[in-house]
Symmetry: C2
Subunit: 194 residues, 2 copies
C-alpha cells in the first residue's frame, strides 16, 4: 500500500446524480444536475443539496421554497449531463432533453415524469457556505415506479431502476452492477467474534 496526497477536493465516492426540479420566477419548470447532496437527518427526513448562488435553480428554490429530486436512469446520461451544461435562464431544458415536467402534488415544484424515483421536498432551511448555498429539503414523499419496486413493495430496487453513480474528480457517470450483501447482516459474524 502506498498512498499519494492528491490535495483538498470536494469528492465523495460515489455520489448520486440527480435532476433538481424547480419553477422559476416566471413559473417555468427547470432542471439542474445535482451531485452534491446528502442525507442530513432521519426524523424528519432531511436532504441537503449544494447550489451556487449564481445558478438559476438557486433563485427558484429561494422563491418557491420547494424542489424535487428526480433520479435519472443510466440511459438518461446525456439528458442529465445536458441539464448540468445549459442554464434554465436561456433554455427550456425539459423541452430540449425531451423530458416531461409533472407538477408535484406534495410541493410547489415539477418533477421529471421519465425518472423512476422522485423525492418531493419543501425547503426546511438554507445555509450559506462560502461558495455554495446548502439547501436543506424536508422529504414530503417519495414516488417510485411500481415496476421497479423491490419484492417487499416498499422501496424502489436500484438493481431494477438502475440509477447512475457519479465521481466529481474524474467527472464521470458509472453504472451499478450487483448486490454485494445486505446491511446489518454481512457484518454479523464479526459482531459475534467481538
Amino acid at each position: 500500500m502506498s498512498k499519494k496526497s492528491i490535495g483538498a477536493h470536494p469528492y465523495l465516492y460515489p455520489t448520486p446524480i440527480m435532476l433538481a426540479g424547480t419553477y422559476d420566477g416566471n413559473g417555468k419548470p427547470n432542471i439542474a444536475a445535482i451531485a452534491w447532496a446528502g442525507v442530513c437527518n432521519a426524523d424528519p427526513p432531511l436532504v441537503g443539496l449544494a447550489v451556487r448562488p449564481s445558478r438559476h435553480t438557486h433563485s427558484a428554490i429561494v422563491a418557491r421554497k420547494a424542489f424535487t429530486l428526480s433520479i435519472p436512469t443510466q440511459d438518461m446520461a446525456a439528458a442529465t449531463d445536458f441539464a448540468g451544461l445549459a442554464t434554465g435562464r436561456e433554455t427550456d431544458k425539459f423541452a430540449v432533453a425531451g423530458l416531461s415536467p409533472v407538477a408535484s402534488e406534495a410541493v410547489d415544484a415539477p418533477y421529471v415524469a421519465e425518472c423512476p424515483v422522485i423525492l418531493e421536498c419543501s425547503l426546511y432551511q438554507q445555509i450559506a457556505f462560502p461558495s455554495h448555498t446548502y439547501f436543506i429539503g424536508e422529504v414530503r414523499d417519495i414516488l417510485a415506479e411500481r415496476a421497479f419496486l423491490s419484492t417487499s413493495g416498499k422501496h424502489p430496487d436500484m438493481m431494477k431502476f438502475m440509477p447512475m453513480a457519479y465521481d466529481a474528480g474524474e467527472n464521470a457517470y458509472y453504472s451499478l452492477n450487483k448486490l454485494i450483501g445486505k446491511a446489518f447482516s454481512v457484518g454479523l459474524p464479526l459482531l459475534k467474534q467481538k
Copy 2:
C-alpha cells in the same frame, strides 16, 4: 409509467458508504459506518455527515474536532457492516475487523490503512438537526493508493479501487460496474440542439 407513493424517507440513490475514523476521549481509534454524507461546498471543500448524538463517534468528533472518511472496497463489506453494528464504547472495532489505524498527518483522527481512498477533515461547523447532528468537515487532504489512480494520476479511479454504493431503503451494498460516459461531454450534442 405508474408511480406509487412510498412515503417520506431519508433515501438517496445511491449514497457512498464510508468508515468515519475518530479518536475518542481516551485516544482510542474508532470507526463508524456512514452513508449519510454529501458535499456541501466547493471552496473550501466541505463535506457533511449526519451522526446521531447517542453515537460514540459523535462525542469523539466534538472532542477532537476532526474525522477521517476512509472509503472501503467491495471486499470490505463485512468489516464495514460490522462497523455499523458494533459500538466503539465497548469494542475495539479496528481490532475485531482486522483493520489498521494510522494517525492522519493532516488532522487529529485515525484512518483505515486498508482503505484505498481517505478524506482527512477538520471540523468546520456542526448543525443540530432534530435527530442527527450534521458535522461539516473541511477536507484538508485526500490520500489515494497510487495503484488506483486514474491515467491522469490526479484522482483515484472508481473502476480501479471499486468502492461500494449504498441504499438505505433496502439496506444493501452494491458494486459499481462500468463507465457510462464523461460529464460535461455526453450532453454536448443536446447543448448544440438548443
